[in-house]
Symmetry: C2
Subunit: 296 residues, 2 copies
């Protein structure tokens, strides 16, 4: 397998794009703008890291690819909804995302709020449909794990912490907890969803969660470094915003050099969690290396 | 059974209030405001009509009350989330709800958006938990039906129509479709959830949906009449707003007298759908009568 991780991610992204297309509504009438906004928010971009984690971990357990693809799309819709709501003026107030106007800029605030709501809802619809898995117990488990990862004690809780902590002096423990909730919980669900689909033993599920936690933190620290060091052109979004807003980040607490070393350490540790899966997990190992080297 | 419908609704509301209490998070730390806002949005008021429909239809099929109560709470959380988001400045911009400041007034807009998101997510969490039903197929069916009722082709689609149709001349067909999506879909799910829990035959499920459609429209027309005729003190929210905003309603299209007659006709029709359930459905029949007589 000499394929680069960039090529694997690109092939995965193309596949996810096509599958998402089919999952999104396309109505006319007065609600047409909602459907357009849902499509705008979900299609045409993104690295599709979470879907990649689903497809790769499902591959470890020989899960039917059509089932894994549905779960991958559901998780990506949740990620996209979170970006739409986080970008709103009342939240992070961002005008640019993936090099394009954010949803509330391209449409309006009301449509953006509703599009986010409907994307989240669609994710649960996809997971609960019989095509996602023949065993209803697996479907219910997927719904439950996604709800926990994305709700008040997961992603929503993390975003609330992020807003509430603006201008506060967080310590390294607090910023780690914040990121575990805000981004780590959904990444953790993506990485364990393959194990849920494959009805893998609990210790393998836990191993994949541990992998995802280290990967997610490494990813976040790398994001913070891009925010400090990157250009808006490379990043596809405004940079330097965290500092301007007085937001504590791994970089503001640790400094650039220690943050970079910490990200590398976490990426190495993430890869080591995969030892039990031998060469089947090579693409996931490459992902862990890539996460700390990327420029956007 | 000489109990009045008001007494039955009050007893149900007290039970729902206590059950919701237990389903809502209560954290400290930076995310505490999110949890408080979720509680503020869900507790301390509301007629709890949708939970009443769940409890009563579940009773028709001898469903375990503890299971029905969980579903009733999940649906009420979705209803509460929709109110929080609909009240936002970018949407209907309401300051008052159930006689109290709306969530974005009592907290702030960001917290209101997140609280809505987290309430919706919590609903799916509750439905998918094993305690909701011993058969995972039933849990997955509940999740699927709720997602369809509340998503882009249900409640969210209806709210989008409502916003997009402001200042437009809707005809009676369009306003009926708008209300079927915006409020009818979730009421329809509430009324059929008892049949899903009880694994009732499909024709009974369809009958309860038909009941709910007529009930929901009657309820909406009565709401429009209250908006035109009621006082803010009785209604517990601002009245006269639809007209001020140029919103088409059943009353603006039909006039007060024809709207009142139509509501009564729908309520009668709703009750007739229940014939197959004999006296077990008496409370639901009383509900249909009450819906068009209430003043708030």
């Amino acid at each position: 397998m000499n394929e680069t991780i960039e090529a694997a991610l690109a092939a995965n992204a193309a596949r996810i794009e096509a599958a998402l297309e089919a999952f999104l509504p396309k109505g006319d009438g007065y609600e047409a703008a909602l459907h357009e906004a849902m499509r705008y928010a979900s299609l045409g971009g993104g690295k599709r890291i979470r879907p990649f984690l689903v497809m790769e971990t499902a591959g470890l357990f020989g899960v039917d690819e059509a089932c894994a693809l549905r779960v991958a799309c559901a998780i990506e819709l949740v990620h996209c909804y979170s970006l739409v709501h986080d970008d709103l003026p009342a939240m992070d107030d961002d005008d640019l995302r993936r090099g394009r106007p954010t949803v509330h800029k391209a449409f309006d605030e009301a449509t953006a709020i509703l599009a986010g709501d409907a994307l989240l809802t669609r994710a649960f619809e996809i997971l609960s449909q019989p095509l996602t898995h023949g065993d209803a117990g697996v479907r219910a488990d997927l719904v439950l794990a996604l709800a926990i990862a994305s709700g008040a004690e997961g992603m929503c809780g993390g975003q609330m912490m992020d807003l509430a902590a603006e201008g506060q002096d967080l310590d390294i423990g607090e910023i780690t907890r914040l990121q575990r909730l805000k981004t780590g919980a959904l990444i953790g669900f993506a990485a364990q969803s393959g194990a849920i689909l494959g009805k893998a033993p609990a210790h393998m599920r836990h191993t994949l969660v541990a992998f995802a936690h280290d990967l997610g933190l490494a990813f976040q620290i790398a994001d913070d470094l891009i925010d400090v060091e990157g250009s808006a052109v490379d990043a596809g979004k405004a940079t330097g915003k965290d500092q301007a807003r007085g937001k504590a980040t791994f970089v503001s607490i640790l400094g650039v050099e220690r943050a970079r070393a910490q990200a590398q350490l976490l990426a190495d540790q993430a890869a080591r969690h995969l030892d039990m899966f031998d060469s089947k997990a090579d693409r996931l190992r490459r992902l862990a290396r890539w996460v700390v080297q990327r420029r956007n």
